[in-house]
Amino acid sequence: MKANLIALALLAFALLLQSGLSLFLPISAYVDLPLVVATWFALSRGELLGMVGGSVSGWLSEALFGRGISGVSGLIRLVLGFALGLLGSRFLITGAVPRFFLLLTVTVIDTRAFEWIAPAFGMSPVQYSPMAMTIRGSINAAVGLVLFALFERRTIQAT
């Protein structure tokens, strides 16, 4: 229970850190820290908490920095969290290369799904070209690898 609360607090912290860093660097186009944390949460805690983590990260991002209808990102990350939770409970994804491609795929699916669904609710989100999408996904995956290593070390120390 305590670990789950810490993980949820970490999600809020990731969002605040991202918005704080965005004051100095235009990182939001390349890095999505709440998504990385939600991915780790889902992989390490299973589908149920993965759904909660994904949904919370989406809702927080949209409620604080979105406009118009909130919840579309939460809906997408809910499904992503569920899928990642299922994946994490059946496979041990520890290598750098599988993790990189997993994070890359998650970033691309999350972004493309939002670009696809949001117009149905009258929103026109930023559209990423295939090149920009690849760069965004790769940078986010690289940042995610570092964070995953940190989380893993922290988990091992705690146990």
Partner: protein, 292 residues
């Protein structure tokens, strides 16, 4: 020989429960989203989250600003002596220029009275700090540290010293969310300062370097628009005051049918705006109609 059957049986029950949870969460999300479609305005959830997070965002902004300022002070100590002398010289020059400009302002006021022109009332504004920038990759929004308790209202114009930055879209007591003009869903009625050509600008991302631009639409194909022309708000949309600088024309597309598109580089850079001005009173309150 071991049979794989028990393994399948032990997993089937939690699996079914997981799918039930997924279904429940999906229904909850769809209901929550669909409720907003008809309501409009700022939801209670958004207002609550803004109220909870804005003090933390203020604190992060203050700490980060303090750290940058301290580091800057340490670095600046090296060149402070020579810079001081140089600034003293510049100050004397500026004082002389200020005197002549004061004289020009006074002369301008006298001429206005003589010509019986109605002076344009300056918009009442409030200075606000940018405490967070869009953490979401899809939208162009910022958060500021002033809200309804300071007089900020939904739809207030947000300006930077170099031009229009955007409009307030969510208001909490001590913070507000601003939709930037470079957001794809934003819009403003504008006209070119020299040619007086009308159009509507909205956010657009340059396909080359990805920098935020404005796309001016509904420009008549026969209208003459030159690169470098200043684009200002026309006030026709009743959202922005007339005459506020929006940007400069970057390039003009070939006409397609009745219209042509014009790319405008925004004059206010949203990427590194730290402080902004927010209009305080709605338009109708700022300039009440004259009494009969």
């Amino acid at each position: 020989m071991d049979s794989p059957v028990p393994r399948v049986r032990t997993e089937s029950l939690p699996m079914r429960r997981s799918w039930m949870w997924l279904l429940a969460f999906l229904i909850f999300h769809l209901v929550a989203i669909s409720r907003q479609v008809d309501v409009g305005g700022v939801s209670m959830l958004e207002r609550t989250l803004l109220s909870i997070f804005s003090p933390v965002q203020n604190a992060i902004s203050a700490v980060a600003g303090g750290m940058v300022g301290t580091w800057g002070s340490v670095v600046d100590l090296h060149s402070v002596g020579s810079e001081n002398e140089r600034l003293k010289v510049l100050l004397r020059v500026a004082e002389v220029q200020l005197l002549s400009q004061r004289a020009a302002v006074e002369e301008n006021a006298r001429l206005r009275v003589l010509l019986d022109l109605k002076p344009r009332l300056p918009m009442a504004t409030l200075l606000a700090d940018v405490v967070a920038r869009n953490a979401s990759p899809w939208f162009k929004t910022i958060s500021i540290d002033k809200g309804s308790s300071h007089g900020v209202f939904h739809g207030a114009t947000v300006l930077s010293p170099s031009g229009v930055l955007g409009r307030v879209i969510t208001v909490a007591p001590n913070s507000a969310g601003v939709q930037l003009l470079v957001d794809r869903d934003s819009g403003a009625a504008v006209l070119t300062e020299r040619g007086r050509v009308d159009g509507i600008v909205s956010g657009f991302q340059d396909e080359g370097d990805g920098s935020p631009l404005l796309l001016m639409k509904y420009v008549p194909s026969l209208a003459v628009v030159e690169p470098g022309e200043v684009v200002v708000t026309s006030g026709l949309d009743q959202l922005f005051e007339k005459g506020l600088v929006v940007g400069t024309v970057l390039r003009v597309a070939e006409p397609v049918g009745l219209f042509r598109e014009v790319w405008v580089r925004p004059s206010a850079s949203p990427a590194f705006a730290e402080q902004v001005f927010v209009s305080l009173a709605p338009r109708d309150k700022a300039s009440p109609p004259p009494l009969p």
